[in-house]
């Protein structure tokens, strides 16, 4: 029970921390876009990103990060919904099975989508600057190392965790069937 309570508290801290961060970032973004002069000078420096200095290709990787972050908030929301029945010792309830499956699927989607966007972003950006990867003397190996860095250990780990949660959901589903059978054995 202590483990579940600790897990619940950590997930709540993560979830609400991300919500607060998102709201503050969104407000800052809006203010920076429409009323930049009202912000301190250090924040005004970020205005360079929105005044058309950079081409749209530069935005692909930051966009993938934002999309991944938002989807991650949704997946943590579903993970939070799993904790309540677990805390009440209802291990084999539909809530746990369905929400674990949703979280697992979202983790997989996040890792695949952000990785693809990063790879696309990397090559589009490279085509723009034409100096880093394809043009380098390392050729094929430079491309490989760029792709590996775009995939990243965290995305790879998220994919594994996503698959693990799907397996976990199936295990709970089997457990539910066995429990039903056990309950109906007289």
């Amino acid at each position: 029970m202590t483990t579940i309570k600790l897990l619940k508290n950590l997930i709540n801290i993560l979830f609400w921390g991300m919500i607060v961060f998102s709201v503050v970032s969104f407000i800052l973004f809006i203010v920076l876009l429409f009323f930049p002069e009202s912000l301190p000078e250090i924040f005004q420096l970020f205005g360079v990103f929105f005044n058309g200095t950079f081409p749209w290709q530069v935005w692909i990787i930051p966009f993938s990060n934002i999309l991944g972050f938002l989807l991650f908030i949704v997946s943590i929301y579903y993970l939070r919904k799993c904790i309540k029945p677990l805390e009440e010792q209802r291990f084999y309830s539909d809530e746990v099975i369905v929400n674990l499956k949703k979280t697992g699927r979202l983790f997989i989607v996040i890792s695949i989508v952000t990785t693809l966007l990063r790879i696309i972003g990397l090559f589009v950006f490279n085509g723009l600057t034409n100096n880093m990867i394809v043009g380098s003397k390392f050729g094929f190996w430079a491309i490989c190392s760029a792709v590996v860095s775009a995939v990243g250990a965290i995305n790879f780990f998220l994919l594994i965790i996503g698959l693990f949660l799907l397996v976990f959901s199936n295990v709970f589903n089997n457990g539910k069937l066995l429990k039903q059978e056990n309950d109906l054995t007289i």
């Binding site: 039903q180 059978e181 109906l184 054995t185 007289i186």
Partner: protein, 68 residues
Amino acid sequence: MPIVVNLDIMLVKRGMKSKELAEIIGITTANMSILKSGKAKAVRFSTLEAICKALDCQPSDILEYVED
């Protein structure tokens, strides 16, 4: 399910109420209801033994195979 529980018939034959049988064999009335309605997935040998003892009958008097 092709296995039919004929507990009702045996209870009528022995003039016993299902609540009484539940008390004798030590199961809840809810479980007795599950058993009588045919919703049960399995019956333990110990339960079957207790039922046969209480109703003075054979397992075949209670359980019957009917093809779907």
